[in-house]
């Protein structure tokens, strides 16, 4: 009765690979590469509704048809056949602390991250010890009718809600990596905030336990109903260790009339990772969307959070910070698309390149005809630390309406020796002086962060800046 496990899904398979501790040979993980069967198995294993399975398969077809992007960074190092597209949570939990590279452990030490959080961050354990915090947060949210869970759970427990919005903001056909994510997504956050509800505390990904927080292909969906308010924070300043080389997330956000959403990201990837993420928001009448996006680490990051302002009075704000260390390429920026009159947007990009690091600002400002009274301001600042550091700017501006107010500014600066001398003459060491210039440079970003994140962020930049002084 049993055939090749990869090809047929049956009771035994499910029993063997789904609900029990994996037997030695045939774990789901053992299969690398991508094909229809893997996608079907994944969907089956998760007991997904039929529509999701079909959605995945359709997306897979699109993925095959779409060419690789020919712009941005160098993607030639990605080998789609050499990736595990789905890891069961138990596989991840099975990783031991000893397997985490010393460099990562050392960084945890220096950042002063508590033991429990370290293991969690390193993907060692899915058990976050502060269950108490988690539960009290969840209780408070539930009372208000807020749903905050991982997307897999949401699909099981709030299927209608997920079905209504999933893939509507970023359809699989949007780009090759969105198609890939749509085919093989797992984990990510799902948030629904009911009408008029304000969530006072920032919702943080690590409040969610027993979930795959930092999957390779996470899928996040946030729905802010009319007049609601929420702040979501993903990531943390510790380097996310991933033995897998591709991280390709999709984040879709719907901000309805008069609602307000802020999405803060601080991610620090280990330097083997391709971080290719699609993030987009649809903002309706008088709604406000703020992306606060900080990218550190990775081999290549391509990420341009977007806000589509669909109705009058919508507002979009993107604050993007990228730190490109030695050998890294940060291709980041933002997109604001004005589709209605009296919409306002602002993109502020700050990049720092150190050593042979390269930071690229890539952004789109689009105003459709008829969007009178639209206002937008784009500002890109690049700071180069060393002679070998590089920065480029690709600001695309397409404006099809006359009655608009548009501003664009781009600046590149090098760390000024005179500034360093000035600071040193007051008793700061050269490292301290350089750090002070850099932290001042990203201050518009750090001041938007909750206190503890701002402190961590500065410590992290400090670590990254070490050894910059010749």
């Amino acid at each position: 009765m049993e055939k090749t496990p990869q090809l047929s899904i049956n009771e035994q398979y499910k029993e063997k690979y789904g609900f029990h501790v994996a037997e030695e040979n045939y774990t789901f993980k053992s299969e690398k590469g991508l094909n229809r069967n893997i996608v079907e198995q994944m969907s089956e294993y998760k007991k997904e509704p039929r529509w999701m399975r079909d959605f995945r398969l359709k997306a897979l077809d699109i993925f095959y048809k779409k060419p690789m992007p020919h712009w941005g960074g160098d993607l030639s190092g990605i080998d789609f056949e050499n990736i595990h597209y789905y890891l069961r949570p138990t596989d991840k939990q099975g990783k031991s602390w000893d397997e985490v590279p010393d460099k990562i452990k050392e960084t945890f030490d220096r950042l002063g991250i508590p033991e429990a959080e370290r293991k969690f961050l390193a993907g060692v354990s899915a058990q976050f010890e502060s269950e108490v915090i988690y539960h009290s947060v969840q209780e408070g949210l539930t009372k208000k009718g807020v749903i905050f869970t991982d997307t897999d759970t949401a699909l099981r427990e709030h299927s209608d809600l997920v079905k209504e919005y999933f893939g509507t903001i970023i359809p699989p056909g949007d780009n090759k990596f969105a198609a890939l994510n749509s085919a093989v997504w797992s984990g990510g956050s799902f948030i629904y905030v009911p009408k008029g509800v304000e969530v006072e505390i920032p919702l943080q990904a690590y409040f969610r336990i027993n979930a795959e927080n930092m999957g390779q292909f996470e899928r996040t969906l946030i729905i802010c109903d009319e007049g609601s308010r929420v702040h979501y924070i993903e990531g943390c300043t510790a380097p996310v260790y991933s033995s897998d080389s591709l991280h390709s997330a999709v984040v879709e956000i719907i901000v309805k009339k008069g609602a307000r959403c802020r999405y803060t990201t601080i991610q620090n990837w280990s330097n083997n990772v391709y971080n290719l993420v699609t993030k987009r928001t649809a903002a309706y009448a008088d709604a406000t969307m703020e992306w606060i996006d900080c990218n550190i680490g990775s081999k290549l990051t391509m990420k341009y959070p977007a806000v589509y302002m669909l109705e009058p009075g919508a507002k979009g704000e993107i604050l993007s910070v990228a730190f490109a260390g030695d050998g890294q390429h940060q291709d980041a920026g933002g997109k604001v698309v004005h589709c209605a009159p009296h919409t306002t947007s602002r993109i502020t990009s700050k990049s720092i390149s150190k050593g042979t690091g390269r930071a690229t600002y890539r952004g789109l400002l689009k105003v459709y005809e008829g969007c009178h009274g639209a206002k937008s301001n784009v500002e890109c600042d690049a700071l180069l630390i060393n002679e070998s550091s590089r920065t480029d700017t690709y600001p695309y501006i397409e404006v099809d309406e006359q009655d608009v107010s548009i501003g664009h500014e781009a600046r590149v600066s090098k760390v000024n020796d005179e500034q360093i001398f000035y600071l040193m003459s007051r008793g700061l060491s050269e490292d301290q002086a350089l750090m002070m210039v850099v932290s001042g440079f990203i201050e518009p970003f750090t001041k938007e962060l909750p206190m503890e994140y701002a402190v961590e962020m500065n410590r992290l930049i400090e670590l990254e800046m070490e050894g910059s002084v010749g």
Binding site: Q419, F421, Y422, L428, S429, G440
Partner: protein, 266 residues
């Protein structure tokens, strides 16, 4: 050998790349004294200030800068600060995103740490800073502004003296702090300097004009021409210069220099 002064420059030769600007400069200064250094444009006054502080563009080719008996020419600028030296810049630099308060606390504690003293806590430091601000007649909101960013010329200079008051150096060099100041700002800046005067503080006031010396009374006045100090005296020398201009002394110096073999500074 003579007894060393608290701060002493001996036969200092320095310049940018291959161009020599300081050509055997000598100067002695003790704590408790205020010296004025005057001279025409291009005489090397600002070069002296930067060379004293170890600006990397200025190479010292010969001579010594002794502070408390130690030759400091090989030290990094921050190490010189730790020892108790301070330079008020002619053109203070802007550091966007860094508040005056944050900067000064970092600098203050860096100095304390280097001297083996405990760092000062945030709240204690802020109280201290408030006192210093009041002394400089500066509003408290100044502490929250980004370092020199968007400051007027006068505010920048005042901020330099604020930094000096906070850091309490033993020897300070004020590089044309009076330039660009209106009379009110000049008084405030001078009051700040005067408030530090005492047995534990000495200053070298570099200036083009006599005006600031009406407010900061010097004990000694030196005249610098072409990279050397050519004349020293008491406060009356400044008044004399103001009256006669630099031309006379320059001519006098030029004829003396011609009579002497070049570079034979004693």
């Amino acid at each position: 050998m003579n007894k060393t002064s608290d701060f002493e420059i001996r036969n200092l030769h320095a310049g940018i790349e291959s161009r020599e600007i300081l050509k055997g400069l000598n100067l002695r200064l003790n704590k408790g004294e205020v010296h004025a250094l005057m001279g025409p444009n291009g005489s090397g006054k600002s070069t002296l200030a930067k060379a004293i502080f170890g600006h990397h563009e200025y190479q010292i080719t010969k001579g010594e800068v002794l502070f408390k008996g130690e030759n400091i020419v090989e030290l990094e600028p921050d190490e010189r600060a730790h020892k108790g030296l301070f330079l008020a810049f002619q053109y203070p630099l802007e550091v966007p995103g860094v508040t005056v308060q944050n900067f000064l606390r970092t600098a203050y504690n860096a100095n304390r740490k280097a001297r083996g003293e405990p760092e000062m806590e945030v709240i204690a430091f802020n109280n201290y800073l408030v006192k210093c601000l009041k002394r400089m007649k500066m509003g408290l909101e100044f502490a929250e502004r980004y370092l020199n960013e968007g400051f007027s010329g006068g505010e920048k200079k005042r901020n330099e003296i604020l930094q000096m008051v906070v850091l309490q150096p033993e020897i300070a060099v004020l590089d044309e702090t009076d330039s660009g100041l209106d009379i009110d700002a000049l008084k405030i800046v001078s009051d700040g300097v005067n408030s530090l005067r005492g047995p534990n503080f000495g200053a070298l006031v570099i200036t083009h004009y006599q005006r600031i010396l009406n407010y900061i009374k010097p004990d000694f006045v030196h005249v610098m021409v072409d990279g050397r100090i050519v004349k020293s005296g008491g406060p009356e020398l400044a008044l004399q210069l103001e009256e006669q201009g630099y031309e006379k002394i320059r001519k006098q110096y030029a004829s003396e220099a011609a009579a002497e073999p070049a570079g034979a500074a004693a």
